[in-house]
């Protein structure tokens, strides 16, 4: 039972992809900044601090509508990481559907650690209330 039924006898990837498509459709139709459907970030809700991911749903909504500048202002880190994430996801999806991978990217361990450190530093920096770090808060670059 290989590619005859589309998926390689594993329901989980099919379910995950269906969920991802549904989530993208919802993200495209509804602006998380306006709609109450999307939950707020728990950290922001409880402490008032921004987490490294704050603004990423709104940023993806803007990207789905082609507004790169607005997405960049909401969460620049997400915009930077997105091409890598999309490649990894596409490679995984292609493997589950067709059984072959895209050429693998091998990131040296140093670069993976750097990504982890960058996420933490970005999370701290965007909470600093003074210039230029206030630019990193969600929408900070859109303020006059």
């Amino acid at each position: 039972m290989t590619a005859i039924d589309g998926f390689r006898n594993n329901w989980l990837p099919a379910a995950m992809m269906a969920a991802a498509v549904a989530a993208l459709a919802a993200l495209c139709l509804l602006d998380p900044g306006q709609s109450g459907l999307f939950p707020p970030c728990p950290l922001r809700y409880l402490t008032g601090w921004y987490c490294p991911g704050c603004g990423s749903l709104r940023a993806m909504h803007q990207l789905l509508h082609g507004n790169l500048a607005a997405a960049w202002a909401l969460n620049p880190m997400m915009v930077l990481l997105l091409p890598f994430m999309m490649y990894g996801t596409a490679s995984y999806a292609l493997f589950e559907i067709r059984g072959n991978h895209l050429p693998r990217l091998f990131l040296p361990a140093f670069w993976i650690r750097s990504v982890g450190v960058a996420i933490i530093l970005f999370g701290v920096a965007r909470n600093l209330p003074f210039h230029p770090f206030d630019l990193l808060a969600p929408g900070g670059m859109l303020q006059p």
Binding site: P39, P42, L43, M77, M85, F106, I112, G116
Partner: protein, 127 residues
């Protein structure tokens, strides 16, 4: 053992991979050559980095960071030729990804429950 082609977990005495069908009998066992660590290792061990970044940023930072650290260990050990160590780190990376995802889903479920209770009690009070 893990399949060198697709990374699926197989029984240690398996002849072919349950997922992709590749032969698991070692034709020429990979001998790590001392002094010549492969730049890009021949064996594939999944490091779950995309999953780890996603759950760190969107779900649960405290459980996502260990997932990223283990993802780095997977590639670091592969660079050093330590396949067994990389596979152990891979298992840990996967485990922390699921912990982070579970924690994130739990927080949002609690939030959704509170919202529902709040909406229902508002409707009741407004009547």
């Amino acid at each position: 053992m893990f399949c060198p082609q697709c990374g699926a977990s197989n029984a240690d005495n398996a002849v072919v991979c349950v997922q992709c069908g590749r032969s698991l009998q070692p034709a020429a066992p990979a001998v790590p050559q001392p002094g010549y660590p492969a730049a890009v290792p021949q064996v594939y061990v999944p490091n779950y980095l995309v999953f780890a970044i996603l759950v760190t940023v969107l779900c649960c930072l405290p459980a996502g960071i260990p997932a990223i650290v283990y993802a780095a260990q997977v590639n670091g050990k592969l660079q050093a030729g330590d396949v067994a160590g990389a596979q152990a780190a891979s298992k840990n990376a996967k485990m922390w990804c699921w912990i982070a995802l579970g924690a994130g889903i739990a927080v949002f479920a609690i939030y959704g429950l509170l919202m529902t209770v709040g909406i229902l009690s508002n409707m009741h009070g407004g009547r």
